[in-house]
């Protein structure tokens, strides 16, 4: 991913620690939102680029995590706003899904493992097919395990909006998923 080296590369242990702690979390959020690996990586890199340029200290670890998530959400939003991006990402996600199907078919495991994996892929596909605004809150609520209040702060939406988007997202998932799920 690192395409060019700086003239004087500086190993920043603190930054590396943050990347190791939060990088994957931010990347998965961006990937769910943008549905494109390259764009998700670019946004995450940009988030940390902004992180090292931030001067004000964080009040707490929670504050720091929320700030990183907020910058990532805004970064994704910038990319997603482009109609061209929306059009392209749909095609690419389709390509990625087909590629994933090919990989799964080429590496059959034990039957149970295969069924379990198929179920997970169906679930992931159902989430990916949700409109972006629902996909984002569903991911933050169920994967990041954030409260409605924190999601509202990160996304800049009202708490009632987040609650209704969660409800609507769950409804859509219930309709599209074959299996029955407990959403609590």
């Amino acid at each position: 991913m690192c395409r060019t080296k700086m003239e004087k590369p500086v190993r920043n242990e603190n930054l590396q620690q943050k990347i190791d702690t939060y990088g994957d979390m931010l990347f998965k959020l961006c990937l769910i939102r943008l549905q494109n690996v390259q764009d998700a990586e670019d946004v995450v890199q940009d988030v940390f680029y902004q992180y090292i340029r931030r001067i004000e200290p964080f009040e707490s670890e929670e504050h720091e995590k929320a700030w990183l998530l907020k910058v990532a959400v805004n970064g994704c939003r910038k990319v997603w706003r482009s109609a061209w991006r929306r059009h392209r990402s749909d095609e690419e996600w389709q390509d990625n899904a087909e590629e994933a199907d090919r990989v799964t078919a080429a590496n059959p495991g034990p039957e149970e493992y295969s069924l379990e994996r198929e179920k997970q892929q169906r679930l992931l596909k159902a989430v990916m097919e949700l409109p972006a605004k629902y996909r984002e809150v569903i991911h933050l609520f169920y994967y990041q395990e954030l409260s409605v209040r924190t999601i509202a702060e990160i996304t800049g939406r009202g708490q009632s909006t987040v609650t209704s988007q969660l409800t609507r997202g769950r409804e859509l998932l219930r309709k599209s998923l074959k299996e029955e799920y407990d959403f609590e």
Binding site: D24, D46, L124
Partner: protein, 278 residues
């Protein structure tokens, strides 16, 4: 019953993992590449409206007398029709335009496109194409200094933004002029179309978001202009748009990423008297 939280967490493990070295974050060249991509996306987005205008609007000049124009905000854009012309044309969303051209249109031997199920090929129709002459400028200063076209560019200083890139395209002398300035996350674009030579016209412009918050203003010259917002699928305002018709010219302005108060100040200060003397 499956637990969604647990299953979704498991499914997330199937996604690729992220690893990055700290040095890469400080990779300025990569960062600038992202910034450049962002700018290009902004420009592409602004150009979409212009392209759609050319598709929907420029070809619809009708042979009728020029009268006062009527601006109507629709679901995803607006139409402008001169008072004596035909009904305002229907505007299509960008996706619909693509669908029509890619999927539901058949082509006759003479090259005329006919939507499936709508009609038969008419061999008497002749396809004509017009190649426009474009002048391009890489800065507002260069354009204002060298172009003979009269365009009133609003006082962008009021937007309190240092724009980092600008591009101006003048099509067929003064027929259409497109101005675009961009700063990270923000853009201003102005499209001016000259209908003075046309006997009548009707045009449609579509945006990618839904229109909302339509309002009417009168500026210091007593000219009415229509302002509206476009809302993205995430429910947030994508841009504010203003449309004004003055002395046979149609001006359409798009403000992306600015506070509404600043946009309204810019519009209120717009002095269009230059068009009365041109």
């Amino acid at each position: 019953m499956n637990n969604f939280r647990k299953e979704y967490g498991q499914a997330m493990k199937e996604l690729p993992e992220f690893h990055m070295e700290a040095e890469c974050v400080q990779d300025e060249l990569h960062h600038h590449r992202i910034q450049k991509q962002s700018r290009n996306r902004m420009i592409a987005r602004g150009c979409t409206a212009a392209a759609l205008f050319l598709l929907c609007g420029a070809g619809s000049v009708a042979a009728k007398g020029y009268m006062n124009s009527v601006i109507e905000v629709r679901d995803n854009g607006y139409t402008v029709t001169d008072g004596g012309s035909m009904e305002p044309m229907t505007i299509a969303r960008s996706g619909a335009v693509e669908a029509e051209t890619e999927e539901s249109v058949s082509e006759c031997e003479n090259g005329v496109a006919v939507p499936y199920g709508v009609g038969e090929c008419d061999d008497s129709l002749v396809v004509e194409s017009v190649v426009s002459e474009n002048e391009e400028y890489e800065s507002l200063g260069e354009f204002l200094e060298n172009s003979p076209v009269t365009v009133k560019i609003p006082n962008l200083v009021m937007l309190e933004t240092e724009f980092e890139a600008a591009h101006v395209t003048a099509i067929d002398d003064s027929m259409m002029t497109y101005v675009m300035v961009v700063q990270e996350g923000k853009y201003f674009s102005l499209r001016q179309t000259d209908y003075r030579e046309a006997d009548g016209y009707s045009s449609g412009t579509a945006y990618t978001g839904k229109t909302a918050n339509e309002r009417n203003y009168t500026n210091s010259q007593g000219l009415n202009y229509i302002v509206f917002d476009t809302i993205g699928e995430d429910g947030e305002t994508e841009a504010t748009h203003a449309v004004i018709s003055v002395e046979g010219r149609e001006l359409s302005m798009d403000f992306g990423g600015f506070e509404p108060e600043k946009v309204e100040k810019v519009l209120a200060s717009l002095d269009l008297t230059v068009y009365f003397t041109d």
